[in-house]
């Protein structure tokens, strides 16, 4: 009797031990992914609902569970305010059991959240923002910069325009981390090719009246007007430049243009513009398949950040599966070992500074005559191999890089 009782107790305690060990694999019994996006502001089109849907698609495609635990996708609007984004991220990490934050459109927000993630030792994957700080001074084992960055834009569109003879530049720059970073990267490229930067006009985020800025750009007599903004800002700037006749004597270089921007500009205005994107829906069968599924859910074609939201979420969840836990350090190590081959890229790999290395592409906007169907907007110009598209490690200011 006594022995059997002891046996039962031992068995029970062993079971309990086993149960706690199983629990320890996945914190809070859920793998929760937070999508921190602009749901209402001027970057709503680029991230917003599409980003949330892309992440949800990824969770569904992995099977809805990982290591037997449910995958939960939640989202919040950062209102393009770094303080709102950082406070939300802090709350999610502290009390919301969020394991990874994705999207992060808006460089200011991405920088603020990167600092919080570093402090709290949790994962973020930046797809919507371009700021170089993510893989430089703010780098950590927990941050991955996935889709694109300012360096790749400058070395794509910027370089192509300089190569085509655009030697003197004037910038219309949106006045925050994103615009400043992009202007600086492109300026480096221009100066590197013996070109000249004549000046810049800085406008606030969400400007609607670009008249005074365009007049400054015209007065500068620069050959190229570099538009270091994106989304609605870039659309408004390009329209204003066309209305003021700036495009007669000067050429526009939109440094970050999205498929949605081309859509809202219309091909008549946008035709001929060069743009650097990591992904385009009409690249191959795989991308078209994903785009069709996305279109059926959201009602528009996915852009590169939304495709990257999907790809990086699948990547993260696979890493959790491989690592057998959602422990941030172990997942981080796993993510830096694995390669990604999916509809977003082939043989993509995360570098030590958190930069996801993949090829970028230079595109040109089609003329109305060339476009055969709705959303048929871009034609490929060239492929920029990963090593040229992204900042070399030797220039990185990241303290994880051994020098």
């Amino acid at each position: 009797m006594k022995t059997s009782l002891r046996l039962t107790m031992t068995a029970a305690s062993l079971l309990a031990l086993g149960a706690t060990a199983a629990n320890a694999q996945i914190s809070n019994d859920v793998v929760r992914i937070g999508v921190l996006a602009d749901m209402s502001g001027i970057y709503n089109d680029l991230s917003g609902k599409g980003a949330v849907e892309a992440v949800k698609m990824a969770a569904e495609d992995v099977g809805g569970t990982v290591l037997g635990k449910k995958i939960d996708v939640i989202f919040a609007d950062h209102l393009n305010k770094p303080d709102v984004g950082a406070a939300k991220a802090r709350e999610w990490f502290d009390t919301g059991a969020v394991d990874m934050i994705n999207d992060l459109a808006n460089s200011g927000v991405a920088r603020a959240v990167a600092a919080v993630a570093k402090e709290k030792k949790r994962h973020i994957i930046v797809n919507g923002a371009s700021n170089m700080g993510i893989t430089n001074e703010l780098c950590s084992p927990y941050a991955i910069h996935y889709a694109y960055d300012a360096y790749s834009l400058a070395h794509g569109t910027g370089k192509a325009v300089v190569a085509a003879g655009g030697k003197s530049w004037f910038f219309l720059t949106v006045d925050f981390a994103f615009g400043h970073g992009l202007e600086q990267q492109v300026s480096d490229v221009v100066r590197g090719a013996q070109g000249r930067v004549l000046g810049a006009a800085r406008h606030p985020l969400g400007t609607t009246d670009f008249s005074s800025y365009v007049l400054q750009a015209q007065a500068s007599k620069a050959e190229i007007i570099g538009i270091a903004s994106t989304g609605a800002d870039a659309v408004n700037a390009i329209k204003a430049a066309a209305e003021f006749g700036a495009t007669k004597n000067q050429k526009l270089a939109a440094l970050l243009l999205w498929i949605e921007d081309v859509h809202s500009l219309g091909l008549q205005t946008a035709q001929g513009l060069m743009l650097t994107n990591a992904w385009y829906w009409d690249q191959n069968d795989e991308t078209r398949k994903f785009a069709k599924r996305f279109y059926d859910r959201v009602g528009k074609m996915p852009n590169m950040a939304q495709a990257a939201d999907y790809s990086s979420t699948v990547f993260y969840l696979n890493a959790v599966k491989e690592a057998g836990t959602d422990d941030p350090d172990k997942v981080s190590a796993k993510m830096r070992e694995m390669t990604v081959s999916d509809m977003f890229t082939k043989n993509g790999k995360v570098r030590v500074d958190g930069r996801f290395m993949h090829d970028m592409y230079l595109w040109q906007v089609k003329t109305p005559a060339e476009s055969k169907a709705p959303w048929d907007y871009l034609k490929p110009v060239s492929t920029i191999p990963a090593e040229q598209a992204f900042q070399p490690l030797s220039e990185s200011k990241c303290d994880l890089v051994k020098k």
């Binding site: 406070a87 709350e91 502290d94 200011g108 603020a112 919080v116 606030p204």
Partner: protein
């Protein structure tokens, strides 16, 4: 009323002390934010409720103090208490300056002057190189209190915020009930008569401005330390509007009424966050409802109700 304070206050303090040990119940960082706004609203009410001066530029004090504290912590590497003190001093000086200019006019014109000056401050911070403009100033280290207590620990920070807020509220209560506070109320009720009694009205008003601004600055500094970030949101005129809303909602004829307003507004924003832009509409509806139904504000209406019910007791206490 006195009974409410005698029992309620120790209970409230005990509950506030317990909070960081039960983070499941209420998120401590959210509570720290609420405390910052409580202090901000009560400090603002020093002018609106007690001196009858409508300032529409209090965000300037709140935000500039946050920036100065952030600058002192991040770029100068000072300890936290010195950084906060620097912020408070800066905003108090700014308040005295604002006051000296604004009190030359009254009512709506005064409000417009404060708004104009606050916009000036806003654009200075937008352009200043150290603020990071739209990115906000980040990341700001929380630093160590007196070089000893590590504030990166949320519990330590919580008690710092609690003590500062408590101290700030105590000071406001003292000011309101001091002879100085009585003169402010006299100015509010009948300025020429106060002047005829021999009081230098301008000096009192400027002092009230400086005190209110300094305490608002304390709130701003604390918020910046809590979130490790100072941003344009803090100096934007929306913030000035928010604090008026909180004050009016809570009740501007009481010392701690604005605190209730600050709690209500912050809680609405926090718990109904998922509604997105609808929260603003909801806050607006709450405000309209409040103005229509209880004009004295939540606390004002409550103490009025108690006073009507127990008139004798109130007189004895008063």
């Amino acid at each position: 009323m006195a009974l409410v304070y005698r029992i309620g206050l120790p209970l409230l303090i005990a509950a506030l002390i317990a909070v960081p040990f039960v983070p499941q119940l209420i998120y401590p960082i959210f509570l720290m934010k609420v405390m910052c706004f409580v202090l901000f609203a009560c400090a603002f009410n020093l002018l609106l409720g007690h001196a009858g001066i409508v300032s529409f530029g209090h965000a300037a004090f709140f935000g500039s103090s946050a920036y100065i504290t952030g600058y002192a912590l991040r770029d100068l590497g000072l300890t936290t208490e010195v950084a906060i003190l620097a912020g408070v001093l800066f905003s108090a000086t700014l308040g005295a300056l604002f006051g000296a200019l604004a009190i030359r006019r009254q009512g709506i014109y005064l409000a417009m002057i404060t708004l104009a000056l606050a916009q000036l401050v806003y654009f200075s911070f937008l352009q200043a190189p150290f603020t990071g403009a739209e990115d906000g100033m980040q990341p700001i280290p929380r630093g160590k209190l007196f070089g000893l207590i590590d504030l990166n620990d949320d519990t330590n920070l919580y008690f710092l915020v609690l003590v500062c807020t408590g101290g700030g509220l105590w000071l406001i209560n003292r000011i309101v009930h001091s002879p100085f506070g009585q003169i402010l109320r006299a100015i509010r009720e009948h300025e020429p008569r106060t002047r005829s009694l021999g009081y230098a009205v301008e000096r009192y008003k400027v002092t009230a401005f400086a005190l209110s601004a300094g305490l608002s600055g304390l709130a701003g500094s604390l918020k910046c330390v809590v979130f490790r970030l100072a941003s344009l949101t803090d100096v934007h005129w929306h913030m000035s509007g928010d604090v008026i809303l909180m004050t009016v909602l809570g009740g501007m004829n009481s010392v701690f009424g604005p605190a209730i307003g600050a709690i209500i507004i912050s809680a609405l924003r926090h718990y109904f966050d998922a509604l997105g832009a609808w929260v603003t509409i909801m806050v607006g509806l709450v405000f309209i409802f409040c103005v229509l139904v209880f004009r004295r504000g939540v606390l004002g209406e409550l103490s009025h109700y108690l006073a009507v019910r127990h008139p004798a007791k109130e007189q004895k206490n008063a």
